[in-house]
Each structure stands twice: as structure tokens, then as C-alpha cells.
């Protein structure tokens, strides 16, 4: 039990490190670059994202053939949640991992974004249970 815990720490830590490093070097943590992605002033990040999806598709097609992977069904919150997240992304230049990368690079205001994310993630299940209560196709919410 404890060895598997240690391994998962090491694995997850390495993935975090690599991802944070890569996202920074790609420029996803740069507000200006992300803004130019969304205004199509520079297509580099869009191509980065698009090629990542395409290559992953090939990768999954090869390695995940016949395997069971978590489903991502469409539910009532998909579009609304996406719109809220997109708004937040355009304002802060951050998605859930980027805020951390920004802070790591020395951008102190990212702390505020991180607080916001923590609050949003914390409050959502409560709002969901109180107001929405639809089936998300996952057992964790």
C-alpha cells in the first residue's frame, strides 16, 4: 500500500514537473501569447493545441484499442460550464494548471487566480446539489 502510494507520488510529481516545464516553454503561461491565441493574432498556440489533439488521437488509437477509458458524456452543465471557464481563461490567461505555472515563473498575481480556482472548485458541488442536481454521468459530483 505504502509503496504504491510512493510510486503514485513519484509518477504524478514527474508528470507535474514535465507538464509545468513544457507549458511554460510553449508559452501557454504567457498572458500575451494566450490573448493572441484567442484573437488569432498568432496561430502558434492554436497549432500547438491542434497538433497535440491530433497526435493524441493517433496515440490513443494505437495504444488504447479495445481498452476502457473514462467517458466524457454531454450533460446539461457542459456548455454553460465551458462558457464560464472560457471567460475566466480569457480574463486571467490561465487554465487550472497554468495558474500554477505562472506562479512558478514568478508572476505573483497568479496567487489570486489560484485562490479563485480553489473557491470555484470548492463551491461548485454545493451549488450543484442546491440548484442544479442533474446527472453528470460521473459518480464523483
Amino acid at each position: 500500500m505504502s509503496t504504491s502510494t510512493t510510486t503514485s507520488h513519484i509518477k504524478m510529481g514527474l508528470f507535474g514537473l514535465t507538464m509545468g516545464y513544457a507549458l511554460s516553454r510553449i508559452g501557454f503561461s504567457d498572458f500575451g501569447e494566450v490573448h493572441r491565441l484567442f484573437t488569432f493574432a498568432d496561430l502558434r498556440l492554436l497549432l500547438t493545441f491542434g497538433s497535440a489533439v491530433m497526435l493524441s488521437m493517433v496515440g490513443f488509437a494505437i495504444f488504447a484499442r479495445g481498452k476502457k477509458l473514462p467517458k466524457k458524456p454531454l450533460h446539461k452543465g457542459t456548455v454553460a460550464g465551458g462558457i464560464l471557464f472560457g471567460t475566466g481563461w480569457a480574463i486571467t490567461g490561465a487554465c487550472p494548471s497554468i495558474a500554477l505555472v505562472q506562479l512558478g515563473q514568478g508572476y505573483l498575481p497568479a496567487i489570486f487566480t489560484i485562490f479563485g480556482i480553489l473557491f470555484g472548485v470548492w463551491v461548485y458541488p454545493k451549488v450543484h446539489a442546491r440548484f442544479f442536481g442533474w446527472d453528470t454521468g460521473a459518480c464523483n459530483v
Binding site: 504524478m12 507549458l23 484573437t39 497549432l47 493545441f49 489533439v53 477509458l69 512558478g104 515563473q105 489570486f112
Partner: protein, 385 residues
């Protein structure tokens, strides 16, 4: 179970209120920024970075000679790199300057042959001094203009013909981006795809950063789950015996034996599946998020541009200013990110990378929604700025 107090209804109201109020507050502060001299420089830099060839050329000139009033010190390498950016876009004067840089080794390794090809490109666009150099040295025929490929650091974009607004140079101007600061799109795409696939292969679950935040915030659930499972394990044997006895009494021994065989298979498959999804404890997700931060730190330090900064950059200040109201806006934006990703069931990694690449309907729609709204909001910001 009664998690929700009536006060919870305040939260959505608060979020909506902040979203409506914060942007105008922040935008009002914008004008005072231009006072700063270095701010003026950053305007040039911003404009140059968005690919404006004239801005790139002007900026390069500033670096080439240094402008004390703007706090720009002479930097031949920066000058060369901006001249080159403008030159690749077909800016004749910049092409001439790149030729000069190569000829005299200003900010780049001296290479007279490469200089010549740049002079030729500039000459072909009608740059008189470049034409003089070309005809003066009598080298017009040595290196043909078409297909001339001046070697430039990190870039393979100079294959563009000297007429220059052909598709190659247009593509070059677009896709280069900040390739001296950042990875090229194909390298970045390959890296992200590698992470997406290898994460799933190593962890048995697909990459999704917003879920990690969720696990972190709901860490108590892990504890409760562990407790419940321990209790179950203790009682399992006793429960099973009781159930078995009851079943035999009801249906007869032979039937129950058969049932158990088929059921065992299904149960073990189910258990295996569940185990692979839940085996990572929340603390490992914390490690994951913490190391993401460290990754950013390592990247910045090794690139030599680590710096404690109190702003997200000049582009951010252009929209939201600096100080309290911009921070409130960040908290609001962060809340939208946290709330929206949980509501939508994924973020740019979970929906965008892991989901879209498997053509999951929820992910395709979700990614469309967040990209769409981010694009809309960015254009609105641009219009308001």
C-alpha cells in the same frame, strides 16, 4: 447530508456581481499607464510581438543604437533578431539591415554569403542601397534570388521569394510567433500529446488537471472513503456468509453455485476497473499540482528569465491595469475557471486534450464552448481597451 445552508445562494449571486462590476472598474485605470516611459517601449514591443513588421523594424533600430530617453540600451543581438523578424515578413529595409548585420557580424556571426542573399532580397524589393551593393560587387548572378535561403538562427523560413507576400512567408510570419522565446508549434504539440498519452498509460486514468483540483479540495472524501472501505472489509466476510445462507434457503444450493460463478467474474472485472480509477490518493494530486508549479519555476530559471513580478505582464495591464482591482478580477476569473471546469466536467487538458482526441461528445462540445467564449471575451476586451 445537509451540506447546503440557505446562505449558499449568495455565492452564485456574488460571482455574477463580481463579473459584472470588476471589468469596468479595472478598465477605468488604463489611461494612467501610458505616462511611464518604459510603458511606451512596451507598446512597441507588444506591437512588434503581434507581428507588425514596421514595429519590429522600429524596435530593432532602437536596440541597434540605443535610446536613452526610453531606457533602451544598445543591444545588437536584440536588434538583429527584430530586424530578422521584419525581414522574413518582406520588409525591405529590414532585409537590408539583416544583410548589414551578417556582413559586419553585428549581433550575429559574420557570414558574407548569407549577407548577400539578404541584400538580393532587399534589392529585388527596390531597396536602392542594396541594389548598389549587389551591382557593385557584381555578384548578381552568383546566388540566384529565387530559392535563395539565407541561413538564420532557429528559423527555416527564409525560403520565401522576394516578392514576399506569398503563402510561405505569410505562413512563416504567422507560425514563427516568438520562436526564440518559445517552442515551435510542432514541438509543443508533440510534447503535450506525449504527456496526454503517457499519463494515461502510467496512471490508468486520463489527464485532467481540474479533477486534481477537485480531489485536493475534497480531500476529506478520501478519508471517509478509506474509513468506509475499512469497515466494509471487516464486515464483508460476515455479510457474505449471511447472504449466502439466505440465498441457498431461497433458491437451492445448485442454483446459487451457478450464480456465484458468473457473478464473481463480473465483480472482479468491476473491482479492477474501479481500483484503477481511485488508487491515486489526493496527496499525489497535491504533489502533481505542486510540481506543476516547480516545472514553471525550473523553466523560467533555466531560460534565465525568472523574476518576481507583481503583474501578469504589459499585455495584461493594457486591459486591466495594475493593483487591487486587477487582483479582484483575477480572483473572479479564477472562480469562473474553478466553477466552470467542474460544471463542464473538464478543462483544457481533460476535455481539450484527453477528451477531444478520443472524440468524446461532451469534450468536443465543452472545448467548443470554452474556446468560443474565450475568443469572444478576448475580442470584447480588445474592443474595450
Amino acid at each position: 447530508m445537509n451540506l447546503i445552508k440557505p446562505r449558499a445562494s449568495l455565492f452564485p449571486a456574488l460571482i455574477i456581481l463580481l463579473t459584472l462590476v470588476a471589468p469596468p472598474l479595472a478598465l477605468g485605470e488604463d489611461e494612467s499607464l501610458i505616462k511611464d516611459k518604459s510603458e511606451a517601449l512596451s507598446w512597441w514591443i507588444e506591437s512588434a510581438e503581434t507581428g507588425n513588421a514596421n514595429a519590429q523594424y522600429t524596435l530593432a533600430q532602437m536596440y541597434a543604437s540605443g535610446v536613452n530617453g526610453l531606457g533602451v540600451s544598445q543591444d545588437k543581438r536584440a536588434a538583429f533578431s527584430w530586424f530578422l523578424k521584419a525581414a522574413v515578413q518582406g520588409h525591405a529595409k529590414a532585409q537590408y539591415e539583416v544583410g548589414q548585420s551578417y556582413e559586419y557580424g553585428l549581433g550575429v556571426k559574420q557570414d558574407k554569403d548569407v549577407a548577400k542573399t539578404w541584400y538580393q532580397q532587399a534589392a529585388a524589393l527596390g531597396h536602392s542601397e542594396a541594389q548598389e551593393i549587389i551591382s557593385g560587387t557584381g555578384q548578381k548572378t552568383v546566388v540566384p534570388v529565387t530559392g535563395a535561403s539565407p541561413a538564420s538562427p532557429k528559423k527555416e523560413t527564409s525560403k520565401s521569394e522576394p516578392g514576399s507576400f506569398d503563402i510561405t512567408s505569410l505562413l512563416a510570419a504567422v507560425t514563427i510567433g516568438n520562436s526564440d522565446r518559445f517552442w515551435s508549434w510542432w514541438a509543443g504539440g508533440a510534447m503535450l500529446a506525449f504527456l496526454t498519452i503517457s499519463f494515461w498509460m502510467a496512471m490508468g486514468n486520463t489527464l485532467g488537471v481540474s479533477s486534481s483540483w477537485d480531489r485536493l479540495v475534497r480531500w476529506r472524501d478520501d478519508q471517509q472513503m478509506a474509513k468506509a472501505e475499512a469497515r466494509m472489509a471487516k464486515n464483508r466476510a460476515a455479510t457474505q456468509d449471511a447472504m449466502l445462507a439466505a440465498a441457498i434457503e431461497e433458491f437451492g444450493e445448485e442454483y446459487v453455485k451457478q450464480m456465484m460463478q458468473t457473478e464473481n467474474k463480473a465483480a472482479s472485472a468491476k473491482q479492477a476497473k474501479r481500483a484503477s480509477f481511485t488508487k491515486v490518493p489526493w496527496t499525489a494530486h497535491l504533489t502533481f499540482l505542486a510540481m506543476t508549479l516547480v516545472g514553471g519555476l525550473v523553466a523560467a530559471v533555466t531560460a534565465g528569465d525568472f523574476q518576481i513580478q507583481f503583474s501578469l505582464g504589459s499585455e495584461y495591464e493594457r486591459f486591466f491595469g495594475f493593483g487591487t482591482q486587477s487582483w479582484i478580477l483575477l480572483i473572479t476569473g479564477g472562480t469562473l475557471i474553478g466553477f466552470g471546469t467542474r460544471m463542464g466536467g473538464g478543462c483544457s487538458s481533460g476535455h481539450g486534450l484527453s477528451g477531444c482526441s478520443r472524440l468524446q461528445v461532451g469534450s468536443l462540445v465543452g472545448t467548443g464552448a470554452f474556446f468560443g467564449s474565450a475568443i469572444a471575451v478576448s475580442f470584447i476586451l480588445e474592443a474595450l481597451a
